[in-house]
């Protein structure tokens, strides 16, 4: 459709352009004068032929055409004009004589918009022209809005339809609606054809809905799944309103159809994303909380118990860190799959569907979900007692314990489970979750790979922990921390060759053992200032000892891996030793095997730099973790410390001797020193000695003692060679030297 430029605005053109066609020059002149006088721009033509010639290059706003003219008369001119492109809707006013009825009819037939009986009452003519221009503009607007609507409907995959009760095929669909159903604009499609596109089960339901709507003449709103003729499945939204005749009787329906397949899929996707964990496909935190709230309502109403089991994987971080996040994710997926099998897991719970399923509908809430990270929750909507929940917890522990293949290798993982039961352990989901968390931590505290049911005593412990944390914050500034020292002994020479510094906390006259506050310090990050203090203090002590009895060895300080990752560690050690004027080598750093391997990549650069400035590195608790032997050969370390657990069993189990032997052999071939920890008996000392380890620590020699006591021990025991181990050692040495035939000890 051509839209004359004048019609872009809301009002009529300022000076509408009129093509005036009349063969009579008097009429032409008069009409022209009259219209010009009233603001029209007039172009005159004295014949139909002249008018058509003009119209080929120009579109006036309106044409005024005399009906009877010699040559091409007004009717033929009108008919020819209508055939010109862009002239379909230009208003044409035909001028006729008053007594000329036949002409009036012919004018309309020829395509004239209106007729006007010639008169010299010019204002009437002007009024008529203005009316026609307004009508034409309205019509154009209507056409535009109609085509806009059609385009919008097309974009929205929407179309309209009408259905009339009376009279044959009373069903009509707009071209856009036909397109929604996969038909062309000229296809004739009846209601039956459409109904056949609905799968049988749904068709029955739809027909029932249609009959119901018809009977009550009510609004019809529904979504219907259909199968197009090409086999594609779509979901069509139907919305129809009843229409009534003048007697108030229902006459039919008119409405719209819309293809909402994409929207529905997007909604499903959104619902899925909002409620399910994308990695494991299990219900996520939001969905779990929703289910737990529903379970709580049901349990409250029906007065039964329900249980929340919080499941946390033990040592998951190690797998994630050593095998990579991809492997970690794989493991979570597998764990999720196993956990799901431990309960009567229901994936889908429709909101509002719970009431309809009956009294046991809350069973459908049962599920395992992922709270985040390596934390899962099992929701048991009804349990009769603790044992019920514990049985599930045990099933979960067993199922997780099974080896898991991740990234082509077998992994072993365990879980800790905390159980909280409504109403005993909490009256709200928040309370139950918190208390299952408390119970889970208690299970972890008791050695992991176990389940614990919540009890208020556990909270007491939690509170103690909080108080401990607050006090620990203030321990440094209050000077409550002290270092105790355990000597490292060279048994063969019966001399002290160094000491390990061990932190103690003097809290209100009580000495808190490291096991009670170091894990908390690690958890809260306080371990960083604590370790920095320990380095300072060890350097200071080395300086004091150096002056008092010529101490020339090193003091080993235990550091967590996170300290090695700090860029200022070297600088800090440097400051500590230079402040008290001792060489860097007086500080030795111990890192546990676990810690080292966990953060290997991040720690290696620091190890090299420390080595360069003379600070030696010792691997603590060696043999308990998962060391990569390949790495050991390249790491700048100086010492391996055999874990006390192997030393404890020496002489009791042959396996321990095997491990110790292996470690010693490994160390020897790598050129590393070996120190045995936890030596408590002469027998252990002798075996170690026999196996080739001459450096030891343990209660046999001395427990960790305050610095001044260590000096007293040296002066009272070692130097006078009074201890039982000194004689024992000398005898062992003879024996060992026989065994290893001249190989030097390190």
């Amino acid at each position: 459709m051509t839209i004359p430029p004048h019609f872009a605005g809301d009002s009529l053109p300022e000076q509408p352009e009129v093509l005036l066609v009349d063969d009579d020059e008097v009429n032409l002149l008069l009409t022209s004068l009259a219209l010009r006088d009233r603001g029209f721009a007039i172009t005159e033509a004295d014949s139909g032929e002249a008018a058509l010639a003009m119209l080929r290059n120009w579109v006036p706003d309106i044409i005024v055409l005399d009906a009877l003219m010699p040559g091409l008369n007004g009717f033929d001119t009108c008919r020819a004009a209508r055939l010109l492109p862009g002239y379909e809707n230009v208003p044409i006013l035909m001028l006729t004589g008053l007594d000329d009825d036949a002409s009036i009819t012919r004018a309309y037939t020829a395509g004239a918009t209106d007729f006007y009986v010639k008169s010299n009452q010019w204002s009437l003519l002007v009024g008529r022209l203005q009316y026609m221009l307004r009508a034409s503009r309205t019509r154009i607007e209507l056409e535009r809005s109609k085509s806009k609507l059609a385009r919008a409907q097309d974009l929205a995959r929407m179309g309209s339809f009408d259905w009339r009760r009376a009279g044959g095929d009373g069903f009509f669909m707009s071209p856009e609606a036909l397109r929604v159903f996969g038909f062309g604009p000229n296809d004739h499609v009846g209601l039956r054809v459409l109904l056949r596109m609905v799968p049988q089960d749904e068709r029955r339901l739809l027909l029932r809905q249609l009959h119901e709507a018809l009977r009550h003449a009510s609004v019809l709103t529904t979504d219907v799944a259909i199968v197009l003729l090409d086999g594609r499945q779509r979901i069509i939204h139907i919305e129809a309103e009843p229409e009534f005749n003048e007697h108030g009787q229902s006459a039919g329906y008119s409405g719209i159809v819309q293809d909402v397949t994409d929207r529905r899929m997007a909604e499903d996707k959104i619902r899925q994303l909002a409620n399910f964990d994308s990695l494991t496909g299990l219900p996520n935190r939001r969905q779990l909380l929703w289910r737990a709230e529903r379970a709580l309502e049901q349990a409250r109403r029906m007065q039964h118990q329900f249980a929340l089991l919080l499941i946390d994987l033990d040592r998951f971080k190690i797998i994630n860190d050593t095998l990579g996040h991809g492997a970690g994710d794989e493991l979570l997926v597998e764990v999720g799959r196993r956990l799901r099998a431990c309960v009567r897991h229901s994936d889908q719970v429709m909101e509002g569907a719970l009431e309809s399923v009956g009294v046991r509908s809350h069973r459908a809430l049962e599920a395992v979900g992922r709270l985040g990270g390596d934390e899962f929750v099992a929701l048991l909507p009804e349990v009769s007692d603790d044992a019920d929940a514990e049985r599930v917890a045990q099933r979960i522990l067993e199922s997780v314990r099974e080896p898991i293949f991740v990234s082509g290798q077998e992994c072993f993982i365990t879980a800790s489970v905390g159980v909280a039961i409504y109403p005993r352990d909490g009256n709200s989901v928040v309370d139950l979750l918190r208390n299952s968390d408390v119970a889970m931590y208690s299970a972890k505290g008791q050695g992991k790979n176990s389940a614990a049911v919540y009890s208020p005593v556990l909270v007491g412990r939690g509170r103690e922990k909080l108080e401990l944390e607050t006090a620990l914050h203030k321990a440094i500034e209050r000077d409550e921390l002290v270092l105790h020292y355990q000597p490292k002994i060279d048994v063969r020479a019966a001399s002290m060759v160094g000491a390990e510094a061990l932190m103690r906390w003097q809290r209100g006259g009580v000495l808190v053992p490291p096991g009670d506050f170091i894990p908390l310090a690690e958890e809260t990050g306080l371990i960083v200032p604590l370790s920095e203090w320990a380095l300072r203090e060890a350097a200071r002590q080395a300086s004091i000892w150096s002056q008092s009895f010529g101490f020339n060895d090193s003091i080993a300080v235990n550091l967590p891996s996170r300290l090695f990752e700090r860029s200022d560690l070297i600088e800090h050690i440097h400051q500590c030793v230079t402040a008290v004027n001792v060489p860097h080598r007086v500080i030795q750093l111990e890192i546990t095997e676990d810690n080292l391997m966990k953060e290997l990549q991040n720690v290696i650069p620091a190890l090299h730099r420390l080595n360069e400035i003379g600070v030696e590195i010792s691997i603590d608790d060696f043999g308990t973790g998962y060391s990569s032997l390949a790495y050991l050969t390249t790491l700048p370390i100086s010492e391996l410390k055999i874990d006390r657990s192997f030393v404890r069993d020496l002489g009791i189990t042959p396996q321990s001797a095997a491990v110790v032997t292996a470690i010693i052999a490994l160390a020897r071939s790598l050129g590393l020193r070996v120190v045995a920890e936890g030596v408590e008996t002469l027998r252990q000392m002798e075996v170690l000695h026999r196996l080739g380890c001459g450096l030891m620590q343990g209660f046999l020699f001395s427990r960790a003692v305050p610095p001044e006591e260590l000096v007293r021990w040296l002066e009272g025991t070692v130097l006078p060679r009074k201890a039982n181990w000194i004689t024992g050692a000398s005898e062992s040495v003879v024996e060992v030297e026989r065994v290893v035939a001249g190989r030097p000890f390190r």
């Binding site: 009579d24 020059e25 008097v26 009429n27 008069l30 004068l33 004589g97 007594d99 036949a102 010019w122």
Partner: protein
């Protein structure tokens, strides 16, 4: 103050029609009445010549009809109402009563044309 132009109104031209003509150019600045009357005079002379040539029994009815149709409205516009009525009678007779004797009606039309021509010329000369 300039005198308004004198309006000459011959007795056989309709005063109302002439007044409408004057309304198109109230102060006569554009000479509308003069232009219209001049155009009418020329048109009338041409039409009378055509009519005279075709009034014989073997003349073209369509020419007569065309002349009658054209003159019917233009004569009404300048106030020659008798001429307009005569034209309408001829047109009607041609369209609806083809058996009717046309000559008396054409004679009447010619007479009215003569009278109108004289009135218009008088007016133009005034």
């Amino acid at each position: 103050m300039a005198q308004p132009p004198r309006i000459v109104t011959p007795s056989d031209l309709d005063a109302v029609a002439l007044a409408r003509l004057h309304e198109l150019d109230p102060d006569g600045r554009h000479g509308v009445v003069y232009r219209v009357m001049t155009a009418f005079e020329g048109s009338l002379v041409r039409m009378m010549t055509q009519l005279d040539a075709q009034r014989a029994p073997d003349g073209h009815a369509s020419v007569v009809s065309g002349v009658a149709h054209t003159l019917k409205s233009s004569s009404a516009s300048v106030g020659a109402l008798q001429l307009s009525t005569a034209c309408a009678a001829v047109e009607l007779a041609l369209r609806e009563r083809p058996e009717q004797e046309l000559e008396p009606l054409i004679a009447q039309l010619m007479a009215c044309s003569e009278a109108a021509l004289m009135s218009v010329r008088a007016m133009l000369q005034a």
